[in-house]
Symmetry: C2
Subunit: 242 residues, 2 copies
DNA sequence: CGATAGTTTGACACAGCTCAATAGGCGTGG
DNA sequence: CCACGCCTATTGAGCTGTGTCAAACTATCG
């Protein structure tokens, strides 16, 4: 385990000073010099909900850190059926390393801010900093664990368990500063009913009915279709089939 | 097995000489000296179908290369519902790097032969050989791509598409020396109907009915319940919803 | 306000599940 | 070699959870 250096903030690029990716993200592996080098070719930008960030079967030119907002990773069958295969939150790293072409698409689910880097910069950093590559590796393995967790949900859970599992996942991920011990959560759903359906392998109608059921059973409250309050996360968890 | 003292750089351990993992697997990244070092603490062994290779929530003590046979990776819900979240074939690397505990179980689906290494050996090799870590990283990313591919199958395909997709995957993976261009395949199913059901999020009966349908539609032939012949893989692919 | 997009609700259909019976493969022992 | 038992796979009949189609409702915004 590498010990984080005691770094004075004036050594760190302005761009990176309050960046979540420097703390829990891939940039946490870099020393100030490397941060400066990386920051030189990075660019921060914001995109609107619905913006396409990567296209399936498209050449990869850049990678990004997600600084805020939620990114959908999707796959689509030739006849249009769609499946969301992952969600990314700050400070996740976006983009498929070690490949020339994407096999999935990425789209902003909410307003998203990103810190992007040219492909070559990331490749150089991977070569020069073993710690950086290690962080990318580690994130890939976490995403693999997650994807396999969703395989269980998709293959073996009922519609109501799926919806409960989804809400639980959002509650746990949407606020990077959230204390996991707290048994209460309130958040805006980052996805529309159609997106939730595409994530859970259901239809919009079924998602809506299951949400209504959770609401009438007093497990959750919903305001303005988007804002969800969960008084008792354990209660929701018991409904998730875990 | 004795290793010679004065190893020239072109000397490869006997153990590794005809090993698939040295060609397409993680050991391909190692030079002869490193292979010797690794081989010193490795052990080859065979296990019966059904043998448990890793347990969920169990501390990790070793990693392995799959040399032959098929390994099921499974996750189980508390009430017993099971989902297969991946299959491993030669020369895949088995075990979750960068973690102290497993989050999945692994079981031999067929007779399996393995080449195993203590945890510390793999960890040392990862530190000392960037190429070795790179290969592990690369395999993790491939497994991630695959898992996401299965998410689409589980969430969005019909039962008959699922079964066709499964057969196609087996046809393409079971024989490491197979030419991808050939449009014909014949193989023994490495999984029982129950396993296939657990992989595809279906019941045994539905799997059986869909296989019968593929058989009566002359897309496949089945002998002795296990041996499958596919005259025309493209035809099968058209049934897979790809 | 009206227009639009997203969501909920209802009625009904059907793919895949459940339960039950039958058939087939394979090892063991007479 | 057959007979038996065991396990796995197939087939059938009926049920149910989720999908489909359609209509009504709600939030948001010009």
């Amino acid at each position: 385990m590498t010990v984080r250096q005691d770094v004075h903030s004036d050594d760190i690029p302005v761009l990176c000073q309050s960046c979540e990716a420097r703390h829990r993200g891939v940039c946490g592996a870099l020393d100030p010099d490397q941060l400066v080098a990386l920051a030189r070719s990075s660019s921060k930008h914001k995109v609107e909900p619905g913006a396409e960030l990567m296209g399936d079967a498209e050449a990869i030119h850049s990678y990004s850190n997600v600084l805020s907002g939620v990114v959908k990773l999707t796959k689509t069958l030739s006849d249009g059926r769609q499946q969301i295969v992952g969600l990314q939150f700050a400070p996740d790293f976006l983009g498929r390393p070690l490949k020339a072409e994407n096999v999935i698409s990425a789209e902003a689910a909410t307003a998203v801010s990103l810190c992007s880097f040219p492909k070559v910069t990331i490749e150089r950093m991977m070569k020069e900093s073993p710690g950086f590559e290690r962080r990318l590796f580690s994130q890939a393995l976490s995403e693999l664990d997650e994807a396999r967790g969703w395989m269980v949900t998709l293959g073996r859970k009922t519609a109501s368990e799926k919806v409960a599992t989804f809400l639980l996942m959002i509650a746990r991920n949407i606020d990077p500063t959230r204390d996991p011990a707290v048994n209460f959560a309130a958040f805006d759903l980052p996805l529309t009913r159609a997106d939730i359906a595409d994530f859970l392998g259901l239809t919009i109608e079924t998602v809506s009915r299951q949400l209504t059921r959770l609401r009438t059973d007093d497990v959750i409250r919903i305001e303005n279709n988007r804002h969800v309050t969960v008084e008792n996360l354990s209660r929701l968890e018991r409904r998730s089939g875990a």
